[in-house]
């Protein structure tokens, strides 16, 4: 008789790793998204070029290649990361590149008249960005950020490539040990969906909170 409760426990351990990866990867992605997204709008040519290179590189190559590099090639350059660090790095940088375009798009979609009002009130560039543009743009970014976080969640399934015992990997282990395919894979499908639902519910709640009294921003 197969000890299912034990093996489901294994899958749950994998779920913890998956959630860790998702949370930390999202945090890194958020930082990169703002850095690169605002970088692309910079006045300085060099900053723009740097941000564009980062974005195009990470959007252009596949996450598989990036993971492999972070884990197996970086050590040759003297940087040895734990599997979790490598996973977070690759996922965060990859999703951050997509998020950067969201940041840029949202900032640019704030009407020109808001910038003009800032000039007329004599606010400096950074003041205008900090107090007027970003607070409005952030609200526009939220839904897409939610989608990006779910994309990141799904991408964690490929980290088994670098020996991280995430949920999909544990399902593979259970499958090899028990010879049963249906149970482990159905379990993780449901778990992935549950986590995705939590993310999108949380994002919508945050959006509602921030949008209070603000119909003007989201048209």
């Amino acid at each position: 008789m197969i000890d299912w409760s034990g093996y489901l426990g294994l899958i749950l351990q994998g779920a913890v790793v998956t959630v860790e990866l998702t949370v930390m990867g999202s945090a890194l992605a958020l930082v990169m998204a703002f850095a690169a997204g605002l970088g692309r709008l910079s006045r300085f040519w060099a900053v723009r070029a740097l941000a564009t290179t980062y974005i195009e590189f990470f959007r252009g190559t596949s996450i598989f290649v990036q993971l492999f590099w972070a884990y197996f090639v970086l050590p040759f350059m003297g940087i040895t990361l734990t599997p979790l660090q490598a996973g977070v790095l690759a996922l965060g940088l990859n999703v951050g590149a997509y998020g950067a375009e969201v940041v840029r798009g949202a900032v640019q979609s704030i009407g020109r008249e808001q910038y003009e009002a800032c000039v007329a009130l004599n606010l400096g560039r950074w003041q205008a960005m900090r107090h007027v543009i970003l607070p409005q743009a952030f609200l526009l970014m939220l839904p897409t950020f939610g989608n990006n976080a779910i994309e990141l969640l799904k991408a964690t399934a490929v980290v088994s490539l670098i020996s991280l015992t995430d949920m999909t990997f544990q399902a593979q282990v259970v499958r090899a040990q028990t010879g049963n395919t249906l149970v482990p894979f159905t379990t993780i499908l449901i778990l992935y969906f549950a986590i995705a639902c939590v993310i999108s519910y949380g994002m919508r709640a945050l959006e509602r909170r921030m949008a209070r009294g603000l119909d003007g921003v989201r048209s």
Partner: protein
């Protein structure tokens, strides 16, 4: 120099890579790693003064790059010794030996006994792990690339055979036996050993440059074999201690 060993002693554990392939390795429902390869490694390292091993399950393809990148201190995963591999890593003396087997449909409808048989049948397809010995043997026997299906893991291979997607699935004998046992499927048949395929043995693989550690490992491994402990560890899993003791790294690495 033994600085590597000293370092492992100091930190109290060695990191080893293992495969997700019973009975070379097994993962209990409690998550505990056992199986022939890690058990031997654990015992030898203990005798070397390294209290514990931390095992991480790894894809076959990721093992050697992981070793080279310094992610594991050793690979104990049924990675059979072959001349090219001996050039890429530093092997210990042999630990687990096994021959190759085919898993086939009942009655072996196409009559496959060797890799060459598959090469001769223009519609014959064979499944094997990517980068594994079996893939290489099949290709060397003349099976064209598009008839060698790269299968990610044993259960997938089994499933593909059951679903009629491949005609044969090749793994070491004990792995195939374990699969068949778990599948409990009377419509399958095993051909073991495959005709003309050599017997292979694996060893613990170390990074090039860690030969000192490897040599220390060999010393303790030899003692283990002599004491009969070795047989006690691996025979419950179905492996033969005699096979491992009757050959040497030198022979296996030189074999063509």
């Amino acid at each position: 120099d033994d600085s590597k060993l000293e370092q492992l002693k100091a930190q109290g554990f060695a990191r080893i890579a293992i495969a997700n392939e019973p009975p070379f390795t097994a993962v209990g429902a409690d998550g505990k790693v056992s199986g022939a390869a890690p058990d031997v490694a654990r015992e030898v390292f203990k005798r070397l003064g390294v209290a514990d091993v931390v095992a991480s399950i790894s894809e076959y393809g990721a093992m050697i790059p992981g070793l080279q990148a310094g992610r594991h201190d050793a690979v104990t995963a049924g990675l059979f010794m072959k001349p090219e591999r001996c050039a890429a890593v530093a092997y210990s003396e042999p630990v687990l030996c096994d021959a190759e087997a085919f898993l086939l449909k009942k009655g072996n409808p196409k009559g496959f006994q060797s890799y060459a048989d598959i090469a001769k049948d223009p519609s014959g397809t064979i499944g094997a792990p990517g980068g594994g010995t079996e893939e290489k043997l099949a290709l060397e026997a003349g099976v064209p690339r598009d008839r060698v299906i790269v299968v990610p893991d044993g259960q997938s291979g089994l499933k593909m055979l059951q679903d009629g997607r491949i005609d044969a699935y090749s793994l070491p004998v004990l792995s195939i036996n374990d699969l068949v046992k778990k599948a409990n499927d009377p419509s399958l048949e095993v051909v073991a050993p495959v005709v003309g395929a050599p017997v292979y043995c694996d060893g613990a693989a170390f990074k090039k440059g860690d030969e000192a550690l490897r040599d220390a490992f060999d010393v303790e491994l030899a003692k283990l074999k002599e004491s009969g402990e070795f047989a006690k560890i691996i025979e419950p899993y179905g492996f033969s201690a005699k096979a491992a003791m009757s050959t040497t790294r030198e022979k296996l690495c030189a074999a063509k």
